[in-house]
């Protein structure tokens, strides 16, 4: 279990306990946190689960796999701290992770 904080574009903060093994994307979808569309359902094929990871967490996250950076090219306003939340699998190590959800996904 990890506490994940999602900051949505309407300036709201949602701190949720997400079970290990789920993705950060699924944590948002299952808890009705707005702003993550996840059109392709986690297949790294759409870039609509794009989040900005709080800088201090960047180095603690699993590295991007092939294809994630390519997909981020398609994301809405990608930045250096952009990740696809479907690729972030929750574990105890991610306890306290904070992500910002962009204003739009496309």
């Amino acid at each position: 279990m990890a506490k994940i904080t999602y900051y949505t574009h309407d300036s709201k903060t949602h701190t949720i306990d997400v079970q290990n093994g789920l993705t950060v994307m699924e944590g948002a979808i299952q808890n009705d946190i707005p702003g993550i569309d996840a059109d392709c359902g986690g297949g790294m094929a759409c870039a609509t689960c794009h989040v900005y990871v709080k800088e201090e967490w960047l180095s603690k996250l699993p590295k991007k796999e092939d294809g994630e950076e390519d997909m981020l090219d398609m994301a809405f306003e990608p930045k250096s701290n952009s990740r696809l939340s479907c690729q972030l699998i929750v574990s105890d190590e991610l306890d306290g992770l904070e992500v910002n959800i962009p204003s739009k996904q496309g």
Partner: protein, 338 residues
């Protein structure tokens, strides 16, 4: 006006197989899709990626799956209307009148929405000012490349579309290629060619830059691009092209009075009918308790929805359950000669 039993919206694997199931039970249908080819997400998002969970097919790519389905529905001569989006539905007595984006009209007894996550549309620039120039001096696809002759064209993106057009247009235009990072997702050979042209001064490559602003009076004059580290460059441009792939939008489906929850349409699991009589939804676009977004689920949903359409198409007949192994009628419809 095209009169058929059923109209299928979406030519992805689910829509194609539903067409097969309709054919088997003797119902006619046509298929509309917003893309220029059949296959849906399989062809648009992952044509080359292998799929491992199609029953009895250990491994196939999105493209192979699509081609096999097209082969399987061939006997039914189903007509496709590609590059068309369904815009309006109207119930006239017991049938549906359907209108597409280019004005094709259908008169059908039932509608099956197999629309995936909506229709694919180009992803646009986040910069608001781009809207003002869209379709005039800013484009997300190219119809007539001759308009770019001897002009300055700024292309954004790092995939094959951006690279291919940068190379192609560098022969007739002054091309700037702008991409958000050093790496490209497009073919390595194209990346090499772009770099060579950049070294030879035949093309200007800007990496780690993204669009900051476009400006101009009636047409684009200047594009401002911003480096990762904050530096801003102004580049003169007559045209701007953006190639950021496609995004799926639900579009007009939202206006049809269907129960919609988070971009999906609620259905019953008996025949995948929606809250509106005669409109069914199958595949990724439908939702119900336990829904799995798998292609195999879409096949199952399509088989049941096809049978659900029967009572609207042939209200005075009873559908008898039959197997293709033994049903004469089904084999005749498949064109099997014995």
């Amino acid at each position: 006006m095209i009169k058929k039993d059923v109209l299928i919206i979406g030519a992805g694997p689910t829509g194609l197989f539903c067409g097969h199931q309709l054919g088997i039970i003797g119902l006619s249908c046509e298929i509309v899709d917003n893309l220029d080819k059949a296959g849906g997400q399989c062809i648009e998002l992952y044509p080359d990626k292998p799929i491992y969970d199609i029953p009895a097919v250990p491994e196939c790519t999105g493209e192979e799956l699509t081609n096999n389905l097209l082969q399987q529905i061939k006997p039914f001569n189903i007509k496709f209307h590609l590059n068309e989006r369904v815009e309006e539905l109207k119930k006239i007595e017991k049938r549906w009148n359907v209108k597409t984006s280019s004005g094709i009209e259908f008169d059908v007894a039932a509608i099956v929405i197999a629309g995936g996550v909506g229709s694919f549309e180009p992803r646009k620039f986040p910069v608001k000012e781009c809207e003002k120039f869209e379709g005039k001096s800013l484009f997300y696809s190219i119809k007539d490349k001759s308009i770019f002759k001897d002009k300055i064209v700024s292309i954004f993106g790092g995939g094959d579309s951006a690279l291919d057009w940068a190379l192609e247009l560098s022969n007739i235009s002054k091309v700037n290629l702008i991409h958000r990072r050093d790496g490209f997702s497009g073919a390595e050979s194209s990346v090499q060619k772009v770099k060579e042209l950049n070294d030879q001064g035949k093309l200007n490559l800007f990496t780690k830059y993204q669009m900051e602003m476009v400006s101009g009076d009636k047409k684009i004059e200047v594009v401002k691009i911003k480096h990762d580290e904050g530096e801003i460059k102004e580049i003169k441009s007559d045209y701007v092209l953006g190639f950021f792939g496609l995004i799926m939008q639900l579009g007009p489906i939202l206006n049809w009075g269907l129960n919609i929850n988070k971009k999906t349409v609620l259905v019953n699991t008996e025949n995948f009918e929606t809250n509106v009589e005669g409109i069914f939804a199958i595949g990724d676009i439908c939702s119900y308790p336990g829904k799995l977004k798998l292609i195999l689920s879409g096949f199952h949903e399509g088989a049941l929805a096809a049978r659900g359409c029967f009572k609207y198409a042939k209200p005075d007949e009873k559908l008898r359950f039959e197997f293709t192994t033994t049903s004469k009628a089904a084999q005749e419809r498949l064109g099997i000669k014995k």
